[in-house]
């Protein structure tokens, strides 16, 4: 991995959908010296442009999303506990987790009725969001407000660290890995003029990317993402989708799009020829901004993804060898851009 410090920094920032400023400002600082143009659009996406050594070979867009899953505080109870709603998650990953609230990073624990007091059917079910609360240790509403809690957001507090010889854990690797890979790419000389979009609101339902699609009208969009790896004991065969250590993922389909078949095939062959470890997804799961680009800009779409276990939860696991493969592919794919643009303009062959 070229720059683990940057990846750690990006993962540890807070950027729940709708509150991406902290992440975007950090990215802006990181890439500003390397861009020919850099701006925020009206919805809040950060868009960069960098000239290539050979000029233009079509309108090329690299895209990732800066937001992460998390919580919004909806109400402060009289007893000082906080009611919340989730963004992009399932309640099964909530209970007992530490969260950080707002810009002040007030620590709290997501809690529900304790196990000792749960009876009957309640023991077999996962509490719904409305049956849980965040406990920040405040004794009253007034005390919570004095701590600085208001209508605010919260993120998981999962720390970035290495586990075992090749594995890391972090929160928000979906999609800070995309932000990281595009930041690193922008620092290198490019062969062809390219746009880079760091989008907002993906976890809310692909909300930021259509604005980029309509304003830039790309011929080709390369969407850099994180994807779910299901190489777990209870998941067998094709349901595993993809595996840690299996290489960078090139998907041919997900819940939001069928990636342009010719682009998928060309990129897969390119990666194999280059000796880059590559895999695809063996089950159709999830959905990304690529679908929004395909529909809003009617452009060719290619997905590049890092496999990670337990995404949309407090801690995700990922393999540094997959990151190395993704770094190589994202950097070296410049060589393939003229071919990809030609294929993209030719329809979904």
């Amino acid at each position: 991995m070229k720059n683990p410090t940057l990846l750690q920094t990006l993962c540890e920032l807070s950027g729940v959908s709708g509150y991406e400023t902290e992440v975007l400002r950090r990215i802006e600082r990181e890439i500003a010296p390397f861009c020919d143009d850099l701006y925020y659009d009206r919805i809040g996406n950060l868009v960069a442009f960098k000239k290539g050594l050979h000029g233009s070979c079509g309108r090329i867009l690299y895209s990732c999303h800066a937001d992460e899953v998390g919580f919004v505080i909806t109400h402060i109870e009289e007893d000082g506990t906080l009611r919340f709603d989730e963004i992009g998650m399932h309640p099964r990953v909530f209970c007992g987790r530490k969260v950080l609230i707002g810009n002040q990073r007030i620590a709290g624990i997501i809690a529900a009725k304790p196990a000792h007091l749960v009876k009957g059917d309640e023991r077999e079910t996962i509490p719904a969001c409305e049956d849980m609360y965040i406990d920040i240790g405040a004794k009253s509403r007034a005390e919570a407000e004095r701590c600085g809690v208001y209508a605010d957001y919260a993120v998981f507090a999962g720390a970035f660290c290495k586990m075992g010889p090749h594995t890391y854990k972090a929160k928000a690797i979906d999609d800070r890995i995309g932000c990281y890979l595009l930041c690193e790419k922008l620092k290198e000389p490019l062969l062809y003029d390219s746009y880079f979009a760091f989008c907002v609101g993906e976890e809310l339902g692909l909300r930021g990317s259509p604005t980029v699609a309509r304003s830039l009208c790309p011929d080709l969009c390369i969407n850099v993402e994180c994807t779910t790896a299901g190489d777990l004991p209870e998941i067998t065969d094709y349901r595993r989708t993809c595996s840690l250590g299996g290489g960078v993922v090139l998907p041919f389909m997900d819940g939001a799009s069928i990636y342009t078949p010719a682009l998928y095939r060309a990129a897969y062959d390119f990666a194999e020829q280059k000796g880059i470890a590559v895999q695809t997804k063996t089950a159709v799961a999830g959905g990304t901004d690529a679908g929004a680009y395909q529909r809003a800009a009617d452009c060719g779409i290619l997905g590049i993804a890092l496999p990670a276990r337990y995404i949309h939860a407090e801690n995700s696991l990922f393999d540094e060898r997959d990151i190395q493969a993704a770094e190589r592919l994202v950097l070296e794919i410049d060589e393939l851009l003229p071919t990809l643009v030609t294929l993209a303009k030719g329809g979904n062959a």
């Binding site: 065969d237 809003a296 060719g300 329809g347």
Partner: protein, 327 residues
């Protein structure tokens, strides 16, 4: 009537091919080779829509779009399993169980039988596999099949009297109506955009991209389930689908056209909520949207459509376009 009906002949011809969702480039190639003479321009876009245009030659012409989904039901290969099976994902889970035990083909080459370990009624989109005779991964390797390959049904259509059963290819009937309409219209006073929309079965995605053409008016064609509309009652006019309400004045104009020309036509007030639709994207660019089509018996399995209904639909389109006058 079928023997010399050019519309039914077109349906039979198109149904010999399968253009699975996501792989509609083959549809464009086929149209370009066989029907490009019907249009002034024929092109495809990156998502896979095929767009045929007939220009009227006027400056700033009125744009009338007629659109129908062009994709056939099929599967995509998601995994090559150690036991020699090909794991498949159904591209439209509403009808996925229907072709079980039928003959299917990967990339129009490798043939096999569609199977599942589950009861047909319990099958989800990922519960299918193809047995193509390979006993293990090594034998599968020799077939050079890759993940992401498209899989289509081998069955064409079966004609029963004055009806046809389509087995996942009913969109070919609508596309044939579009082709028949394009052939019949000459010297129209408006620009006609015939959009054969891609990825209709996986969320009506093509229509969303086609909205970029910014039409003034759209006639969106669909096959409606017979539970709501009745087969054999002519063309169907819907007042709403799952994404938008049809434009009232446009619907009235279509009804008036049908009445004047004595074309069998049935209006339906029901909302066809089960049909994925993206007509809201067309409304969003300011187009007036009309919803019409034909009714089908058992749309999620054999999908039986009456030929007379298709003929009525084609006739209604022709007469409606004619109502704009000639150049």
């Amino acid at each position: 009537m079928n023997q010399n009906n050019p519309l039914i002949e077109k349906i039979c011809e198109l149904s010999e091919h399968a253009f699975v969702s996501g792989n509609e480039r083959a549809f464009f190639t086929y149209l370009k080779e066989n029907f490009s003479h019907l249009f002034d321009e024929l092109s495809t876009d990156p998502l896979g829509n095929t767009i045929g245009v007939k220009h009227c030659g006027k400056p700033n012409p009125y744009k009338l779009m007629i659109t129908a989904p062009c994709d056939a039901f099929g599967f995509i290969v998601t995994d090559l399993e150690a036991n020699g099976r090909l794991r498949l994902h159904a591209l439209d889970s509403r009808r996925a169980f229907a072709p079980l035990y039928g003959k299917i083909a990967v990339c129009d080459q490798t043939l096999g039988v569609l199977l599942s370990d589950k009861d047909p009624n319990d099958c989800g989109a990922d519960d299918f596999y193809l047995d193509c005779g390979a006993k293990n991964a090594e034998e599968l390797d020799t077939l050079s099949i890759k993940r992401g390959a498209f899989v289509s049904l081998c069955e064409g259509i079966v004609r029963i009297g004055n009806t046809s059963c389509f087995y996942g290819k009913e969109n070919t009937a609508l596309c044939s109506v579009l082709l028949e309409t394009a052939q019949s219209v000459r010297d129209c006073a408006v620009d006609l955009y015939f959009v054969f929309a891609a990825q209709g079965r996986v969320g009506a995605r093509g229509l969303r991209a086609a909205a970029a053409l910014c039409p003034d008016e759209v006639l969106s064609l669909a096959v409606y389930p017979e539970k709501r509309a009745k087969s054999g009652t002519g063309a169907v006019l819907a007042y709403a689908d799952s994404a938008c309400r049809a434009d009232n004045t446009l619907t009235d104009a279509l009804l008036e056209t049908a009445k004047r020309s004595e074309i069998a036509c049935t209006p339906f007030a029901d909302v066809f909520k089960t049909l994925p639709s993206s007509t809201d994207a067309l409304c969003a660019v300011g187009a007036r949207v009309g919803l019409l089509g034909v009714a089908a018996e058992k749309p999620n399995s054999v999908c039986r459509i009456a030929h007379d209904d298709l003929s009525a639909l084609a006739l209604l389109l022709r007469e409606y376009i004619a109502s704009f006058g000639k150049n």
